[in-house]
């Protein structure tokens, strides 16, 4: 079937089989390998992307479900030259060890701060509860995200959908 959708604000059109999953289309067909695969069953959050602005697990989404929709991946949030504020802060706080879970955390945290610029500690914990990290732990990740809520430390959030 023909799939037409927006990825990182650019239109994409490609022929897919009806049962391909979004994570595979993004990684293997479009080369967007920033989105990671870990559990493939919606438990770990490594494959988190935004569908119409909402964080979702791309391993649970038939690619056909995003027909005509907007998908944002980690490549659409920032890059080395222009990191998203969440990326800048995770680096500053040393909040990555192996880094495999990091893109998923960034997608969750960026959506949370977009919707709740003054998120409480509890809201941050809840907002990141769908992402697992198995090496560095959560303390620095939460501290990095929380620093963006601190009025003295915050950075302007870019408008991305």
């Amino acid at each position: 079937m023909q799939l037409n959708f927006m990825v990182n604000q650019k239109p994409v059109s490609l022929e897919i089989s009806a049962d391909e999953l979004l994570v595979d289309v993004l990684r293997d067909r479009l080369g967007l390998t920033g989105t990671k695969i870990s559990c493939r069953e919606g438990e770990c959050g490594a494959c988190t992307v935004w569908m119409d602005g909402l964080p979702v697990n791309s391993c649970l989404i038939p690619a056909a479900k995003v027909q005509g929709r907007n998908v944002t991946t980690i490549e659409g949030l920032g890059c080395i030259e222009m990191p998203h504020p969440v990326q800048e802060r995770l680096a500053k706080y040393g909040a990555s060890q192996c880094g495999y879970c990091t893109p998923g955390f960034v997608m969750s945290a960026a959506a949370l701060l977009r919707d709740h610029p003054d998120a409480s500690h509890e809201q941050i914990i809840e907002g990141l509860s769908g992402n697992l990290c198995r090496c560095t732990g959560y303390t620095r990740i939460v501290a990095a995200v929380e620093s963006l809520v601190d009025p003295l430390e915050t950075l302007p959030m870019p408008e991305i959908t």
Binding site: A18, E41, G42, P55, V56, L60, S129
Partner: protein, 292 residues
């Protein structure tokens, strides 16, 4: 997994497709369980997946004449954010908020959680105490509605014929003085299946429990109303509610099993203690919502 993927934009179109492919079709709303079950081959491959998440009438939360209707494809996130449900049915909001994590809640739907009919489904006890009806439509335009209790036939079994679609849930809006409670026993605060879940609605007057509806999940093949204890508690003066003996009759309504999550004895004891604790908390508080 599947050969064709359909995204109907009206209920009629969805019903026609469902009728056309019959047992060779699977309805997908959020897909958070279905996609896993198809891709792991726990479910046999099918010809057609019919994605009902774009059908507008299935994605709405409505109130009319003090009766609330929630479309089957309403997501758990929509429920958590709904101002109407936060004020009128906090028991449902608290249940939805404790399911999985944000990414799953943005996809998963109330209809999927109910029709899947896991004994541990969190939305079901909340809908049971709200006395919810299940609305069902079939391809030839026929509609029926049955009480949720009757819809649940067993572990992952519901009263739904091939060709039928659950369109939503309807319940009377509880009076604003009604007290709500939802509690989930789970190994961590997110991404966990309930070892036990508990929903309670209660009205009180003159230091007495007037009416109470109690439902529990993960303690029987389906979530159940705990009617033996409801009877014991009705018209009970507050000061008597702490007596543990009142709650021992719970084994008439629940049939917990032993599995890798917990043993039968543990579940029975937890059920009794938790119910007593919840009732004592609810009569002691002036708040109308208790978040477990």
């Amino acid at each position: 997994m599947w050969n064709q993927y359909f995204s109907p934009e009206s209920l009629d179109e969805a019903l026609q497709l469902n009728h056309l492919y019959r047992e060779q079709a699977r309805l997908l709303a959020g897909g958070t369980d279905l996609v896993l079950n198809l891709s792991s081959q726990r479910y046999a491959a099918v010809e057609a997946v019919i994605d009902i998440s774009r059908v507008p009438e299935l994605s709405k939360i409505d109130v009319q004449d003090d009766s609330i209707t929630i479309g089957a494809a309403v997501t758990l996130s929509q429920i958590v954010r709904s101002e109407l449900l936060n004020s009128a049915a906090p028991v449902l909001v608290t249940a939805a908020r404790q399911i999985a994590g944000p990414q799953i809640r943005n996809l998963a739907t109330i209809g999927g959680n109910v029709v899947n009919a896991s004994p541990a489904a969190d939305m079901i006890p909340a809908l049971l105490v709200l006395d919810s009806l299940v609305w069902i439509r079939s391809w030839n335009g026929q509609a029926r509605q049955i009480p949720l209790e009757a819809f649940l036939l067993g572990n992952r079994k519901v009263d739904l014929a091939i060709g039928e679609i659950v369109t939503g849930f309807q319940f009377p809006a509880p009076d604003s003085a009604t007290r709500h409670h939802f509690r989930k026993v789970q190994p961590r605060r997110a991404m966990a299946i309930a070892m036990l879940n508990l929903a309670i609605l209660m009205t009180v007057s003159d230091q007495k429990i007037m009416q109470v509806r109690i439902a529990m999940g993960a303690v029987a093949p389906t979530a159940v109303r705990v009617k033996s204890i409801e009877k014991v508690l009705t018209d009970l003066p507050f000061h008597l509610a702490e007596n543990l003996d009142l709650y021992t009759g719970i084994s008439q309504d629940i049939l917990p099993i032993s599995d890798f999550r917990a043993s039968r004895e543990y579940r029975l004891r937890v059920a009794q203690n938790l119910l007593r604790e919840a009732i004592v908390e609810m009569i002691g508080s002036t708040k109308t919502v208790d978040h477990g």
